[in-house]
């Protein structure tokens, strides 16, 4: 993880608390916690993929696809639990297809998931008939607006996803194999790691989390939107990279990604409260992304020079 990130977030919080009225209120914290959940969950999935030196461009579309499926299911009076299970199962299958094409067929992750992005967005528009899909299931949409122990359920889900992912990635052998593959796939193979199975797992996890994010977003908006999640894959990738993940693989952590999401969220929210044009936050996010990667690059050069 990046230690600098904690410092930047702390500075932002202090500055916004002092300058933006309404920043340090329970209401606003609650809003922030809800708003960061969806992209946060996507970014955690993306972190797994990026650690193996891959990329998953399909998660935003998959989020929209999952969101439409569950909205349609609920609109047709499917029990919410069953609808959720269907969406998550479909998501995992799509992730396995991505993973199989990338591992067994050895196609580049960028191309496979870019293709899947298009396929899923098209399917989503067709399924939704290009329109929002309303549903009538208050118990389902209430989940997204309710809190547990004073904390929004959406944020709880993000925390659970982060905790489970961090344990898996950092403490188990299968998690370590993801780093090993991202570090040097041929070495990993020769050492005896089942590279194909690991990549299948990685893309399935990313897709599963995208499915969860789709369910949550549909609950939060109380309707399915065929355009939901458009471009979210880039936000997720940006957050992971801000959090220390490297597209060259083997670098990144769940806590780092969480901090990356938090940074973007706080910056966007604070600038918004200060009445900046929302595009300013986007520009700053982009600039920070480039700056962080550049700093990493310099650090790497120093290591190389030390040999």
């Amino acid at each position: 993880m990046r230690f600098g990130l904690v410092g930047i977030i702390a500075v932002l919080v202090i500055v916004f608390s002092a300058t933006a009225s309404g920043f340090l209120t329970l209401q606003n914290l609650d809003n922030n916690a809800r708003q960061m959940a969806v992209v946060g969950i996507l970014a955690v999935g993306e972190t797994f993929v990026i650690i193996t030196a891959g990329i998953d461009l399909s998660v935003g579309s998959l989020l929209g696809f999952g969101g439409i499926i569950i909205a349609l299911g609920l609109a047709h009076n499917l029990p919410a639990g069953l609808a959720v299970v269907i969406v998550l199962a479909v998501s995992v299958v799509i992730g396995l297809v991505n993973g199989a094409l990338i591992s067994s067929a050895a196609l580049p992750p960028f191309i496979v998931t870019l293709g899947m992005l298009g396929i899923l967005r098209g399917l989503t528009q067709i399924f939704g008939n290009g329109q929002q899909v309303g549903y009538d299931a208050a118990s389902f949409s209430n989940f997204a607006s309710n809190t547990t122990l004073g904390i929004p359920n959406l944020f709880w889900i993000l925390v659970l996803v982060c905790a489970a992912s961090a344990v898996f990635l950092h403490l188990t052998r299968r998690g370590r194999y993801m780093y090993a593959i991202g570090s040097n796939v041929e070495s990993a193979r020769r050492a005896g790691i089942n590279v194909n199975a690991t990549l299948l797992t990685v893309y399935a996890i990313s897709a599963l989390l995208a499915g969860i994010a789709g369910v949550l977003l549909t609950a939060r908006q109380a309707q399915g939107d065929p355009n939901a999640g458009t471009g979210y894959e880039l936000d997720a990738i940006a957050a992971a990279v801000l959090g220390g993940a490297s597209l060259f693989g083997a670098r990144g952590s769940i806590i780092g990604t969480f901090l990356g999401v938090l940074l973007v969220q706080i910056m966007t929210n604070g600038l918004n409260l200060l009445n900046f044009d929302p595009q300013v936050a986007r520009m700053l996010e982009g600039a920070l992304l480039i700056l962080f990667v550049y700093i990493d690059h310099l650090r790497k050069l120093r290591v190389a020079a030390a040999w």
């Binding site: 403490l171 090993a180 040097n184 005896g192 693989g249 083997a250």
Partner: protein, 278 residues
């Protein structure tokens, strides 16, 4: 014939008999015998295309021979894949390292063979970081490999240190036989000395070592026996204490036959090598 079987081993750990292998019309190996003994470094030399790599790949289970047999400690063995050879105690250190540069030293030593935590956590696939670090430290200390902190990423080590880690991993898991394919090819003089020294320590610990190299001074410095290959055949065995590098070269190139090599070399020539670390 100059065949210096080591005194400390009666039977070879590994014996390959009459191994042949063709790739299409190319005869890669023809009737090759090869043996490795415990506590013995056998160098495998030959020009490019002589069949060294093919022989090594057969011994390490990467390819299957067309004919011929492998035996370990007198019993026939059949390696269908590298896993089989590895399970039999044969480890290979590849030329291009095969480390995960972003992982730390214990993670690399235990890659794909991690120690899991005891009990339920272990069944849930949790690895035991401390146990691996302790065993890695112990192992590296035994072989005198100094690396500073165990927590550093392997890509922060020097080339020689990284090669030492790669070799140490081979040694760690190769209970019977380790194969080192050009372990010093990318290294400077001092770092090569480090690796050769490590190889001798492994030998002294009782493991059989196969050392493939194009670097004849290093071969003469480190090996106990030198197996020479040419055009897919084993053309002879040299004793590095009595043979000269010129003799090795002429055997490799076919300029001489075995008979003319078996003369003891003149006494003023040193045993090849003893390159001091710079």
């Amino acid at each position: 014939m100059v065949s210096a079987a080591p005194a400390q081993a009666l039977a070879p750990i590994l014996r390959a008999r009459a191994i042949s292998k063709r790739f299409g019309n190319v005869i890669a190996l023809q009737d090759v015998d090869f043996e490795a003994y415990a506590g013995d470094i056998v160098a495998l030399i030959g020009d490019n295309g002589a069949g060294k790599s093919t022989l090594i790949k057969i011994i390490s289970g990467a390819i299957l021979p067309d004919s011929g047999t492998l035996a370990m400690r007198g019993s026939p063995v059949y390696f269908h894949n590298p896993r089989d050879a590895r399970d039999a105690g044969i480890e290979t250190a590849y030329q291009d390292l095969a480390l995960a540069p972003d992982l730390d030293i214990p993670a690399n030593l235990f890659l794909a063979r991690e120690i899991v935590r005891p009990g339920l956590l272990g069944r849930l696939d949790f690895f035991d970081r401390r146990a691996m670090r302790e065993r890695a430290e112990e192992h590296l200390r035994d072989f005198g490999i100094k690396v500073g902190s165990m927590e550093q990423r392997v890509d922060t080590l020097s080339g020689g240190q990284r090669q030492s880690i790669a070799v140490a991993r081979t040694v760690f898991w190769g209970s019977a036989l380790i194969i080192m394919d050009e372990p010093t090819a990318a290294l400077g003089v001092a770092q090569s000395a480090l690796v050769l020294d490590l190889m001798r320590k492994v030998r002294d610990a009782g493991t059989a070592v196969v050392f493939i190299s194009h670097n004849l001074p290093q071969v003469f410095e480190a090996a106990d026996r030198i197996a020479v290959m040419r055009h897919g055949r084993r053309v002879g065995t040299l004793d590095p204490r009595t043979a000269t590098m010129d003799q090795a070269v002429s055997l490799m190139t076919g300029a001489t036959t075995l008979e003319s090599v078996s003369q003891p070399r003149s006494s003023q020539q040193n045993r090849g090598g003893n390159i001091p670390p710079s």
